[in-house]
Subunit: 680 residues, 3 copies
């Protein structure tokens, strides 16, 4: 979905204000250059304080005052936090999870399949829509918020799961075989005997249940979209605020939702991205999670939430907030919306601070936001609807994520998959190689020159054949340890590993271990020299114990070893291999190792995608704007000034309107950004 | 309450003896110079082995044998551990907490508001009193023991809580507003809809529940005091064994009890203090917790329990036990009573050892105790009822403690408040500046020259105005980050921070963060020089990263900065400020930083209170005895001999009766104590 | 039980195969030199897929195919994993533990006293036996698998416990006295008042409950043995797969089972031993746990499970698997059986890999196994039924283990007892001193020259008198801190410590603490010099803080101090003492200290048992074979070649058939083994 202008604003909660100040707030927003607010997504109890009594007066005030101050409105359906009276009416809607039944209090505590919940939620949404749809400045709707399955595992949900298994496996013997249920007498001979799945020690069964629950989320979105579509104006969009695996911040692919399926019922993908700040701000999360968001509809996306002041440790250094905003836009976002406008005076998110602090004064953050807002007003139309054409894609797969949570690497637990994903993506990011994400459900990847496939632990034969064919037809495949190891039900393959892929990779293995004091020996002399100097420069890798988390004892069939293991017991085995296959080639990373050495292996392999010799902390991002011109964004993620020699075609600096020519030099100051429009 | 002689003794449990030896034990006690025992507080099942059958034969034997050996008796009401038959009768008295219902076994597992429990407890207390009151050597009663609310949160207790809220908030809308319940749809529109508070994510609600539960404890004490008062002789006192926040030892203010309210129904405050030993003995806990005890009735207090051998790691070095005893007395205690006489042969406290080991032999601890007992007999009357006149007070506040547990500093969790309290108190203690504690509920603090207010996170306008007025009228206020931040219901203030106090402090701030690689730059050159050398000497503070846990970005209005932040992003902001205001002044610590640098800032500010140049490990404590003479206690908390030049008026050494004159030098040996009576 | 040939094989689960390959598997086994499989112990749901419907077709196939390939079969009774239909029938058989009721899923989740479970289990066993007993190649039966009580603590089990207490204590007052229940009002005046034992804070009660539950396990074995004995052929043996305390690997004595009682109903002891590998392989677990297994029937034992590839971190270096196999045999095992043949394709043990990987190819492990199998075929008869005559024994005691779990050392928690056990045993092992284990229930230990008694925390007077008498009659006793401290109900002794033993040890103590910065001073000058150089050589012990976990302040009565504490406060006390008593002597270790210093103290004391000057990583094991010849096994547990001068009588190398004479030198390569038969 293209936008007319960049959307810039914040989530706004008049309901939470300690005193009446909607007019003042919106006057401040307008003054800061904001043009949109997001409202209503967590305040059911305000709109329906008692069963069947609706009160939209606050909503009316917010929307009408917004209109006066030229602010558009995105309305969220308020279904992810339920009112006290509703729970009192029917407490069974509190989800039963692995830990028993939820207590009331936190949001997202309900069973999203509970009929009473759904009945009342539907009425709530319909009443809300009847009220807000006619307002011209209401431009779109957000379905629910950060929806997940919340661990729902009550009796009714488990029955639904068994029904879904029955459909999938008409023959119960086949079900037992595929899931290996003879093990420890877990065999189920009659569907009626199905035990409480919460106690299972069979990861095939558990991850199947997870997949089923991701399906519940998809269904929930479709159900809401149907309600909204029946009421909304054609020009109003539908979106959702997708979030990511959480690691004290947005980290990687979300395990509880199949976002590719879920987004189908929406007009435009939305997301929230929160990330480390201060010394730890790198822009990597904005890129990795933003790329997932961009991949959902293969289109621009909305940032519906990101940090203003955020958590206590996130208070931005001067300049960082502006850098973050342009980083989102440079990645293909069409909005920057803060969570949230004002800081809360009670409850659990009181220290997750908004643009304004608790005193509502014009603080440093408001001044930074105002600068961004005014700049967007000036140059926003030159950088909106930015289109990217990347030759590299990274494949993401939720079944593999769940599979690696069940059978994790040595120390990374449920983050195992995203650890590998980030290892690869961050390597690209830091070397200024832009990439797309792609779903594992695509029919073909032939539009990419290079496809990077992290730890594809759980895969169908179809997918593996697609990858094999991709290489045969001239693609360049990078993949890692664990790929192809088990099927779609997490049953480990019983033939040569990596299943099917061994052909295009030209290798096989039948053993693996956790590395202890294991290093890498590069095979070619140049490589060896490089690696030492490389490690020396970065001063982080110990060549004698740089292998971590996982190592496979790889034997080369047609492949050539890039590196072998430096260890007396495993020195005969390959650690990293390259193979020519059909019209293409492949690179196999048979172990996890230090990130600085990964650069040495991966970057040369994807050399076609290299556009600049600069690397982190200088980050360059590019895209084509509405005028068809290429826009270049330079970021400096450090306290040190960076001297840049401009290496592209003549361009115009969008902030200063000054011209820059190939070979010119300029300085990027600490935490600064420079935006150039090429060919103008 | 003044005592005739220092009380010296131990808790005694004839019930727990593996064989009959009451006569032998009391003979040993008398021989050791003991004159008091405390009995009965945890042995309900011995006095009432079956419902309604009472057997006080062991009690009779203990009291009568005690009389024979000139031992007084303090009798505890046995209500903090319930008999098996009572629970079998009505299991609902086992408290329902956040973790579900308690199992029988440990003490303090009951709901202190349960009617059945209260009914049987009342009868037990009355029967006990009928039996023991007439004995002349029974000198007082301890109500229950280390009473708390034990996390009681069952349905009935929650209903009582809702009733208390109804009374406090006749208008339910006002309740919703003050507690910010619109957030996440937590709004309660009818009191009947009140959800289970155990699930709440609203810290205002949770801390209000904690306050309510502290009220239950106060009521429980009053209820017991009424029962005891109806039976006891006028000369018999009522006390309680208050304890402190536990951090493997007595650490600071007790969160579960409002001791200032609770003590009102008692004659004299009592307490137990347990503390690190061996290399870790500093005397700080004896002072900090002792000062709280002394503040409860602004009078001398009883130490009803402290360690003899104590936990395995606490076995005292030679000399330490004696030093500890005098440390209590020097702080205003009128008793030293060990927990306990003999070590237990079964159950969970078998390794919390008493004076005697399990073999009842005369061990090293008994010999140390005997030395103390004989010294008390000789010099006790010169050091009992010691009165202190301190010009400095430290304000303590339970609502702020609970508030900071809910919104803690970066790493200190539920200990956040006491961490700040100890940071300030220990600084005074180590520099030999004696101080009082005062409750936050006082009407005025004008009797103190300097008032130190740690992290007053939750405060009424009234209290903050009292502090403002204190400074205006000539007081010197030291306060810290977080003070004034939220109101009495933990609603964060929505005007300039620190709310109300910004005037007398002459500063404001609207942002804060966790410090990472943040140091301090002292503003005046002398300060800077001092700070470097100071840090150098102590060799602990890294001036570039000495700021920890919390930092506020302070702007000076009328105040002068003492230190600013050493960090490129925050260098414009003040970290520590001083202000002149009205007839007084204030010192604001806007961040938490290394303790050795705190000395540099705090000690000069309170310089009027400095009486000696000696500092830890030499500790000096003072007070006026019954004769009106000043008594000086010198302690050496180290293995190294300390050479002291005596700097006060001529005095007499109470142990040797030798005279000492101003300017004389003496040696304090390892872990030794010297006591001088001035002007005699 | 003597064997005709060494048993060599694996656990085999045709039920778990992803496709039919029994014939192929067994052909591979036979080719690898295997001669036995173990089957059936966890597959009830396969044999009885629905209630009362039995299907032994897979069993038939396995046994008959095995016969064809000359493989014997050990059949396990399939009672440690229950089918889904059985739980659906009666969910009460899922054990109620401290954490509530078990969910279905994992094995060993049942209450082993549940009548429904027992009824159906009996029928299952009988049907199975009817089917398999007649097969000639079925050589024995394993009762259940790794049986324990699984924490069962439901109402019925607790009633059984109370009944057992009633029998033990006809006088309830005596029960209260012995268990010290007056403490915290825990007194029980009527057995009907007995509270839920899961909440108890009385360790005497809890450990008594543990002892009772170990009794349930013994009864369960007897019940199964009775069923099997009624059906089996006389030549078929009964065994069980005993396991050990688990510390990520087999660590020491099993707390939940009294193996000495349990084994009585069996023909031969069986065990599983899993151990660290790669850099961490030392052979110590194979020896310590193997010695326990050998002690159960004072006879050779079966290794029914040990790792093939095992857990991911256990993948053996080249040579290690062979070394492990001979290490078991050299210790007196008559079998080496891997768990398991093939790696599993689903569920929780998918990464606990067997001989074959998931792809069933001939991998490195299979090749190692084949070498072992062929060697066993060649030399097995020379090393089977190996008999050992050791002059040293280490006494093990389950009550002391449980007691030290309840009252642990400073940091070792529930592993405290086994930590001390391993400290002593590993010292012997590393110095090539072979030893027996003996139960604490023996009537006399006079057949051993030296008896080593680790931390005998809980002991009857009878046992302590036996030890006293042992020394008096000429034995040499080594014992440690904590021994004799409490009685059989964990009531701490109330006379001189160590109770009764103080006489033969010639010492006493009444205080102890956790050591902090405490070292050892050796008393004799030679000792001091040795100790320094010793510590110096090994470069690990810090003489100033080598004491850890526990220290007793020991006073010598008749004993002579070997070492005193190096610490200003405790320097008067002995740490290690020696005593002459009657015709024997004793060595007391009053504290836990660094293992390298233990060698200095312990090895000289047991010098009679020293047979070689070589020490770890060279390990020597010995035994007499069927021919009455001594067999010597040399192992090199390191990457470095070891040069050995042969110091025994002329012998024959069993692998090469070459002769070796006294004084000859040979080289042991990395992870290699050499086996010599003396006098041939």
């Amino acid at each position: 979905m293209n936008v007319e202008h960049l959307l810039f604003g914040a989530a706004y909660y008049a309901e939470y204000l300690p005193y009446e100040r909607v007019e003042q707030d919106m006057e401040m927003m307008e003054r800061a250059g904001m043009n949109v607010i997001r409202i209503a997504e967590s305040t059911w109890s305000t709109w329906e304080p008692k069963e069947g009594e609706f009160d939209f007066s606050k909503l009316k005030q917010m929307i009408e005052t917004a209109a006066k101050h030229h602010l558009n409105v995105i309305v969220g359906t308020p279904t992810y936090a339920i009112p006290t009276w509703l729970v009192k009416k029917d407490a069974t809607m509190l989800a039963v999870t692995k830990n028993g039944q939820e207590l009331y209090g936190h949001r997202q505590n309900m069973d999203i399949t509970n009929p009473t919940y759904l009945k009342y939620a539907k009425r709530m949404i319909e009443k809300l829509l009847d009220f807000v749809v006619p307002y011209p400045n209401v431009i779109g709707f957000q379905l629910d918020n950060e929806t997940k399955h919340y661990g729902t595992a009550g009796e009714r949900v488990q029955k639904m799961f068994v029904e879904s298994l029955k459909t999938q496996f008409p023959d119960i013997d086949e079900f037992n075989r595929e899931f290996g249920l003879d093990y420890w007498s877990n065999r189920i001979n009659r569907w009626e005997d199905f035990p409480d799945v919460r106690g299972t020690i069979n990861q095939s069964l558990w991850t199947e249940f997870e997949k089923f629950r991701r399906g519940l989320v998809t269904n929930f979105f479709q159900w809401q979209a149907d309600i909204v579509n029946a009421k909304k104006r054609p020009d109003q969009f539908i979106t959702h605020n997708f979030d990511f695996e959480w690691h004290d911040f947005s980290y990687g692919l979300q395990p509880e939702v199949n976002q590719y399926d879920s987004v189908k019922c929406m007009t435009v993908a939305g997301a929230d991205i929160y990330h480390p700040s201060q010394e730890h701000l790198t822009g990597a999360e904005i890129t990795v999670c933003g790329n997932i968001a961009r991949s959902l509809k293969k289109d621009n996306y909305l940032i519906l939430e990101t940090q203003a002041q955020g958590n206590t440790e996130w208070l931005a250094y001067p300049g960082q907030l502006r850098q973050q905003a342009y980083s989102h836009i440079a990645n293909g976002a069409n909005s920057v919306m803060y969570w949230h406008w004002h800081s809360l005076h009670n409850a659990i998110e009181s220290y997750w601070k908004g643009v304004l602090s608790h005193d509502f004064s014009e603080n440093a953050t408001y001044r930074d936001v105002t600068q961004i807002g005014h700049e967007f007003q000036k140059i926003g139309d030159k950088i909106k609807n930015l289109k990217k054409t990347n030759s590299i894609a990274v494949l993401v797969d939720n079944e593999s994520l769940t599979g690696l949570s069940a059978f994790p690497l040595q120390t990374t637990g449920s983050y195992s998959y995203n650890t590998v994903l980030r290892w690869l993506c961050d390597c690209l990011y830091r070397n200024n190689i832009e990439f797309d994400m792609v779903s594992s459900k695509e029919a073909s990847y032939s539009n990419y020159n290079c496809l990077i496939v992290p730890a594809l632990y759980s895969a169908t034969d179809t997918l593996l054949h697609t990858l094999d064919d991709y290489v045969a037809q001239g693609g360049h495949l990078v993949t890692t340890f664990k790929s192809g190891f088990s099927d779609e039900h997490l049953k480990i393959r019983h033939d040569m590993q990596p299943h099917i892929l061994n052909k295009c990779l030209g290798i096989h293995y039948d053993q693996f271990t956790y590395p202890e004091h294991v290093g890498l020996s590069f095979v070619s002399e140049e490589d060896a020299a490089d690696a030492s100097s490389f490690a020396g420069e970065k001063n982080t890798s110990d060549m004698d114990s740089c292998v971590k988390e996982w190592m496979e004892l790889v034997t080369c069939d047609t492949a050539a070893p890039v590196a072998t293991y430096r260890h007396p017991a495993w020195k005969e085995y390959a650690a990293i291999t390259k193979n020519e296959y059909g019209k293409g080639s492949s690179l196999y990373l048979g172990c996890y190792f230090d990130a600085d050495l990964l650069e040495k292996v991966l970057i040369p392999y994807v050399k076609d995608a290299i556009v600049t010799q600069y690397a982190f902390p200088v980050i360059l991002k590019r895209g084509k704007n509405d005028a068809g011109n290429e826009v270049l964004f330079y970021f400096n993620y450090s306290w040190e000034n960076q001297e840049i020699t401009y290496e592209f075609e003549n361009a115009t600096d969008l902030f200063t309107e000054s011209r820059i020519s190939t070979g010119d030099r300029f300085t990027l100051k600490a935490w600064d950004v420079k935006i150039l429009e090429v060919g103008r």
